[in-house]
Symmetry: C2
Subunit: 325 residues, 2 copies
DNA sequence: TTGTATGCGTTATCAG
DNA sequence: CTGATAACGCATACAA
């Protein structure tokens, strides 16, 4: 592995000159330049990026923390992150944590070790207090609407969106409304839950524990809801579910139970993934990919932000009416 | 940012001793050790991983090249790669290429620059000849059954699997069989196409160009097939599709066209993703996640492979009979 | 336009 | 058990 020093020696110039040629700096005579190129050719030279990064003190790498890449929601965020990162010549380091705090901590430790320039938390299990300890080691962007002012965040107003969904269902004549969430804890889920409880109180509906379905992320979880629905004494007329995958599963199970949608059970979900379009599921679209893109631009512009006012970005949502409500 | 030198100075020891403490080397007296710890505490010391990597000449990073993370197939591979990589304390650098050779080349160039220890090609557009030029810069693992001996590969025997699928359909009485592929070019698709043509010749069936559906990857593509099917003069009685997403889309469209499955059109797909289980789609399971895992172990063991006999790993497949055939 | 010298932060060798 | 010194490979301030 030839290095810059050997190139310099063979080309009969200084290391600096080689470096200049390498980085397209001006003020290098054509003769020296070609001598350097020739030497590089001869010694089969390869730049060592890690050395450059060490010397410059940056890595052009962004760490991305998420529970799993297999869920469309996170696939989408990563897609957005990747697209934007590529534009700015950043690489992406993926941390699949499966919501294990030890793995999330590992990502933070690598940020501390300067391996990456910054971190994007797509979702987290670890407490904000712990994350705060790593604040000095680089920009950390949160893709959630947590009640904090420490970190920039990109988020969907989950509380309003959930409330909006409930109001839409109510406007369609429903009052007996069930709901599902992706996680029991977790910022987004908590916000949604709060919105639900608030709204039900508003229309004088009791909170029925058996109308709340937890840990619902996949198609399978949606089918599970369908089977539980069947055994329910008191049946809801509508359900607001955590995402399109769950809605798809529920719809499949409902059709097998000979339930009509929306007549027997209306379904409204979130995300607007391709599967919801294919199955004509009414859904509330949230700009997931855009969230990923903004996370990257926010990170890159982190240092030249004079005011901290625009550190918390809130995206919008949009109702997509199809035929399950 | 305090460094090892400052720690040494404050602790009143040499750099070497600090390094020893940092790396849990033996032969350091307790007093010096605690002095070093104290200094580290005082100066708020953080190790610089890039410096370590430069010094050691390794990065513990694996580059993963794939067209998009949004497709379940690749999500699955990455899941496998991530799980195995984590075990061995490797990080993953993601390259979303969208099948653009320039982006694939970028990944190769970063391998050349020693940014990663190795590369896994989950799928590629770039020619093998170009990849070969980067062979010396680190282990490159191919997740495909290409006709080459240069690189280790993990693959599904697509030709046999496709053939097996066709034979299964034939055994169910079908002779008029359509098929879809994910890509026009691409190693796997080419293999599948070859298997199809061979089998059709065997049972004396003509090759009908309009029974071949290309570029089929998503649910939407599957629905598209359904719409095209409707307008077909000569209709096939069965179709072997590229993956479960496509099958799901086709099944949805078929049901909207009031077509019965498998009576009017039998559907057999590949992968055995959750969606196929949910929709009772018959499919040929291939161990995608396992492929990712093996790619990592192969890469890690790359150097201590004495013989090259086990460099090409072929995985198996398995028919999952459900109700679309 | 070119080169010298120093820094980036750590590990490894070798002598003591 | 300990430490000086040389890598690792490159960038850059400063001097010429």
């Amino acid at each position: 592995m030839a290095n810059i020093r050997e190139i310099a020696k063979l080309a009969g110039v200084s290391i600096t000159t080689v470096s200049r040629v390498l980085n397209d700096h001006p003020y290098v005579s054509e003769e020296k330049k070609s001598a350097v190129y020739k030497a590089m050719e001869e010694l089969n030279y390869n730049r060592n990026i890690k050395a450059i990064q060490l010397s410059k003190g940056v890595s052009n790498m962004i760490g991305v923390v998420l529970p799993t890449i297999e869920h469309p929601y996170f696939g989408n965020i990563v897609q957005g992150i990747a697209e934007e990162a590529m534009k700015h010549h950043y690489q992406i380091v993926l941390f699949q944590t499966n919501y294990e705090t030890s793995k999330e901590l590992e990502a933070l430790e690598l940020l501390r070790g300067n391996l990456m320039d910054g971190l994007v938390f797509c979702s987290r299990a670890i407490s904000l207090d712990i994350i705060k300890e790593y604040k000095e080691h680089g920009p950390i962007i949160l893709c959630e609407d947590a009640d904090q002012e420490e970190f920039p965040s990109i988020s969907i107003p989950h509380e309003q969106a959930f409330q909006f969904g409930l109001e839409y269902l109510i406007s369609k004549g429903h009052t007996r409304i069930a709901y599902s969430l992706g996680r029991k804890e977790g910022t987004n889920s908590t916000k949604r839950r709060k919105a639900y409880e608030h709204k039900m109180r508003e229309i004088n509906q009791p909170l029925r524990e058996e109308w709340f379905f937890n840990q619902c992320l996949s198609i399978k979880d949606g089918q599970q809801i369908g089977r539980k629905y069947k055994d329910l004494h008191e049946k809801p007329t509508a359900i607001l579910v955590s995402n399109d995958q769950v809605a798809a599963g529920l719809l499949i199970e409902a059709s097998e139970l000979r339930l009509k949608t929306p007549e027997d059970i209306a379904i409204l979900s979130f995300d607007n993934q391709p599967i919801s379009e294919a199955m004509h599921i009414s859904t509330i679209e949230i700009p997931i990919k855009e969230m990923g893109r903004l996370a990257v631009t926010t990170m890159i512009n982190f240092n030249d932000q004079t005011n901290s006012t625009d550190k918390k970005i809130t995206l919008s949502f949009r109702l997509v009416e199809r035929s399950t409500v």
